[in-house]
Subunit: 471 residues, 2 copies
Amino acid sequence: MLDQALTRQLRRIVGETHYRDDQEALVAHSYDGTPMLQSLPDGVIYPENTRQVAEIMKELAAHRVPLVTRGSGSNLCGGTVPVQGGVVMVMHRMNRILDIDLENLTAVVQPGIITAEFITHIESLGLFYPPDPSSMRISTIGGNIAECSGGLRGLKYGTTKDYVIGLEAVLANGEIIRTGGKLMKDVAGYDLTKLLVGSEGTLAVITEATLKLVPPPKSKKTMLAMYKDLYGAARTVSRIIEAKIIPATLEFMDNPTIRVVDDFAKLGLPRDMEAILLIEQDGDPEPVERDMERIREICESERADRVEVAQSREHAEKLLTARRSAFTALARLRPTTILEDATVPRSRIADMVLRINDIARKYDVSIATFGHAGDGNLHPTATTDARDPEEVHRVEQAFEEIFEAAIEMGGTITGEHGVGLVKAPFLEWKIGRAGVDVMRGIKQAFDPHNLLNPGKMFAKETRKRVVINRG
Amino acid sequence: MLDQALTRQLRRIVGETHYRDDQEALVAHSYDGTPMLQSLPDGVIYPENTRQVAEIMKELAAHRVPLVTRGSGSNLCGGTVPVQGGVVMVMHRMNRILDIDLENLTAVVQPGIITAEFITHIESLGLFYPPDPSSMRISTIGGNIAECSGGLRGLKYGTTKDYVIGLEAVLANGEIIRTGGKLMKDVAGYDLTKLLVGSEGTLAVITEATLKLVPPPKSKKTMLAMYKDLYGAARTVSRIIEAKIIPATLEFMDNPTIRVVDDFAKLGLPRDMEAILLIEQDGDPEPVERDMERIREICESERADRVEVAQSREHAEKLLTARRSAFTALARLRPTTILEDATVPRSRIADMVLRINDIARKYDVSIATFGHAGDGNLHPTATTDARDPEEVHRVEQAFEEIFEAAIEMGGTITGEHGVGLVKAPFLEWKIGRAGVDVMRGIKQAFDPHNLLNPGKMFAKETRKRVVINRG
């Protein structure tokens, strides 16, 4: 429970109705998109502008109360679960587009805007903002920045980090900083902009972002390549890159994912295939045409069973939507879905998928794998039941071994979902003790009293998952 | 003078001949590409591998001796002048390409390799590494990473930061960390890779870098647009971007630069023009053709006096080389050349050039301006004489006002050259007191005893330039 003097101050700052500590509000903000994690906050606050955020943070700092900032809470790493209580700050009221600059090709937005709404608006102006996480219809730009979200277009266009060129942020002590700007280049000191992207709300609260926009591609083609041989699919990925073609999208679904997605989206996908690649190229019409032709040849030479080019934009959208719905579709199978994010050099995709299958068999758990093959970013997804602790334990053991395999192959424990609570015990596997120490030092420099999203990214020695029923 | 026990240890680590403290070695490493700055180190060391770097740094840390790491010292911010003495570590012996991976399109290199040699090798394999600082024939990849160097291809392809995806680095205490990898995505903790890029040797010593390579463009066209009206040239820049064309190169030279470059390179450039734009587009042949046609129309509608398309690759190379030689050409005019790096949103290019001219007149100094117009990154360059302190003082006042103007226009004090010694007094203008405090906190976390390139980036209150004769 927060002390009364503090809650009075918080209500004064945002107005009576924008601070809540009723049970309903607390429960609603006790979890996020990540299964099996829940922890009640002491209060929930909805600021309207940067000044309010700064005032809130000054008050919380004075009272040494933790702050967890969130958008829609669609993250999958437990990034916004308030494990140490305190105040959850919801950014949805700060959802305006402040500026779109056609001469500089930049947009300035508040963090609470929904990603898909921003993208729709940008596209209506004939411009393009590439980062497209699968959660984009509910996630916010602020959340995307906090997690450095990727998406289906990451291979060619990069991730959120590549489009954030300036930030306004409030520090733990309530001071406001501004980094970067409408600038394509800025080397004035350490790159705080890129440091804050992906910092998961542990260093500062982002209150405004300047985003780089790019010209939209003039045309786009979508292709589905279907394989009875998993290795053929994986070799196709490497051979496309070796042929010096960087497709806009190069997605992978394994057989269990294909079946589930097809049940869900009713696309008539071939249920007997071991793997499907969903490939898109965009750009000027002639090179797109040439690239797709060359890609088709590569698919065929790697013994794809069928190669289909989408005959209309609607058909292509359907295929993309099907891929985007993989998580949702898998989530229908059993009460609990755990979607992971292991990433390897793209040349190791096949090895990694086979290794995941071996590990799933070893622990007798059900794992479907899909993901951004061109990036080497796989999402092995376990369907399980949180009410069965013994099975959940086996799932956790399996994922532990999957992370280990990713690291062994020169990969990482998370490609686009973040560390949060779930990956914290594994961070050291990727960056070593000295690396974690450096990161802790950075955290200490920004947030000496450990008030911003405490308990995330840095783990105590032992792994801990608070298992609850959501079935 | 270093204590004898330490120098014995250093000689033991690298071998007798690779540690020097003779006067010749000390003087040769007392300055860099930046005019009017000099300070003698106590010793110069040439490590051969990461293990030696780590051992050296452990020794220096134990003795609390400063370390300045350098490649070729071509930087323009005083970044490698050992202002607090100590040891200069020269990375030229660590100049190997360790791995080129065609499946993942990555290269792993040691920091001491010369940028142009690396690029030549990469291009011989049919691949492309875009960052091309004008100093690339002498600069090293390690130096480029330390300064986050840009270049002529920055507009379309980004700068060094965009191509560094993994690092091995040695911390101040001699511990080795590895960040990133052959990975297109990695969000395991704070982005130490991007933090180290552009950190100017103040946080760690880079001993290995994993670089992203890209497919080379299939064709390229080069165009020169000449203007009697400066505003016409500047408007052309904005209108090209507004037309949703991102050229590979979009360079600007003002009249004084044109004259000097033509004297130097004998290209028959029109000496009566107020401005020249050097424009390149690359990519597949058809879109390049279309873009160049559209760019020509824009140039003409903005009343370009002449528009010429290079008729051969040789001619195009000549034009590019001429632009790259601007600094060298200007340096022939008078004994001292001070090249600055103010950057503004690209829509403000014309305002900024006019403002620079006003300021030059006000202080009665001679400033020529050229630079990367598409990035808003200008290099106002003063030709002066370090032996005339009164004139130098006026030059410094002029630059101070130029930085102020850049900040006023939403710009920054440095786009690609770094802060070093020269911009340190101005850093706070760009990022504010709270921003500088955060950066100091990061520095403290990495380097608690302030041994890595001390005196750089963070200034004492007063501006200080050690003026010496080099005439």
